[in-house]
Amino acid sequence: MEGLIEDLTRGNVTEVKVVLATVIVALAVYQLVLAAVSYGKVRPRLLESGPATWAHRAAGDTILVLAVLVAIACIGFYGWEEGGAHALFGCLLLGALAAKVLAVRIAGSSSPLLPWIGIALFGLFVATWWTSAGDFLGVG
């Protein structure tokens, strides 16, 4: 597994992980904006609730795929040792992602839990990024 990840990233495992994690966090911020438009909390002139919801789902699916890829690279290459807070936030994050997918599938998009899971998810994305990529970039 380690060799495969190293081959795929051409030896730049940490750099690729940091780039992908930063893209995820940037998109997560955008997701908050789209969710606010979707729930009618913000009403910009150029974007209505329906298209915002659609874009929120599309970006969310992309984030989900990227997050799983980063998690595989992280656990597959670095393992569980010396994970500390990053490992804890990462595990909670994957749990929250699974909870959000389940909430959408079971209760539908009108579930009152969704905004809270979404906010928790955003916080966990930032915390996980901060304890790894943020450190690496010198901002964490």
């Binding site: 051409r10 750099e15 780039v19 998109l27 150029l46 974007l47 298209p51 874009a55 599309a58 970006a59």
Partner: protein
């Protein structure tokens, strides 16, 4: 008041904004790394090795010329 753009335009616009955000994030982080990527570091080491080899060859050629001149 102006009509808002069509739903399809709004969706495409939203997705383009997401793409732009991702592109900016990649550019900013990559710029922050600078020449720390494995490939670039390898390239840099290779260039240094080539320069050292070339210098060594020039030095050897100069030493040979000096020996030839001394032999005459």
């Amino acid at each position: 008041m102006r009509e808002p753009p069509s739903q399809m335009t709004q969706i495409v616009g939203s997705l383009l904004v997401a793409l732009a955000i991702a592109a900016v994030a990649v550019a900013v982080v990559t710029a922050h790394f600078g020449p720390t990527s494995h490939a670039e570091l390898e390239g840099r080491e290779e260039r240094i090795d080539q320069r050292v080899d070339a210098r060594e060859e020039r030095r050897e050629a100069a030493a040979e010329r000096r020996e030839e001149q001394a032999g005459r």
